[in-house]
Symmetry: C2
Subunit: 142 residues, 2 copies
């Protein structure tokens, strides 16, 4: 967080340092929540670095390829979310009321994957786990 140098991060990944890319990376790095492409697009406008929506998609794609950003499909259908990749394995807890998303650092699947690999003879590469429920605030409200 402190003293981020996104230009250097881009160069390290072999990417050109453009203001849009630096801005998008900054937006995602600073966001508490994963963001949609459109939210990134709108935030760029607010920051005075307006970009075309297709540029936003292209940049997010590149970042995803380079493992700088994670693309999430938590909501199931429709739109994707993007979050800054802090290089930790995590999952997400989604509030069905206010739709807020909490990142969860722990993962209960290590042993299970081993058991599953034995049982099925699959080479397990990974998993997706999202958990949903109602957050304390939303529980209080109804």
């Amino acid at each position: 967080m402190k003293d981020m140098n996104f230009g250097r991060d881009l160069a390290r990944k072999g990417l050109r340092n453009t203001k849009h890319r630096a801005a998008i990376l900054s937006i995602l790095e600073q966001s508490e929540q994963p963001l949609t492409a459109e939210q990134v697009f709108l935030e760029l406008k607010e920051r005075g670095e307006p970009a075309n929506l297709s540029t936003v998609y292209r940049v997010l794609d590149v970042f995803t390829d380079k493992r700088m950003v994670k693309k999430l499909n938590i909501t199931g259908g429709g739109r994707s979310l993007y979050e800054y990749d802090r290089m930790v394995h995590n999952h997400h807890l989604l509030c069905l009321g206010c739709k807020k998303i909490l990142a969860i650092g722990s993962c209960p699947l290590g042993d299970y994957e081993k058991i599953l690999a034995e049982k099925t003879d699959f080479a397990i590469e990974g998993h997706r786990l999202d958990i949903y429920g109602y957050c304390p605030e939303c529980r209080r409200e109804n």
Copy 2:
């Protein structure tokens, strides 16, 4: 499986017994794999009960509402899959090679959800867990 009466199942759910609905339910019930709307559409044609694609979507929606079918978003983006709901909690193991999907009856998340509920004060309602890897056949091939 034996002696299925889909017309009766439909009536029990308050749905009219049409040939498309009975056929779609039968197709899903007999399928080893979850199917896309288009696959259902094509199979209907093969069975001599051709339906419009929008009808297929509407029927799948109704079935999903009535909990006769589960709508899956395993692949992340793009298309949804539909599977006959056998009323058991399950997860899916997807082969990244041949894309086949295995249903897994076991679920490792019971205790974890309790712990998470305590830690976060969320009321946990459910979760989504998909696991991916390479099946025995695909492992052998490369």
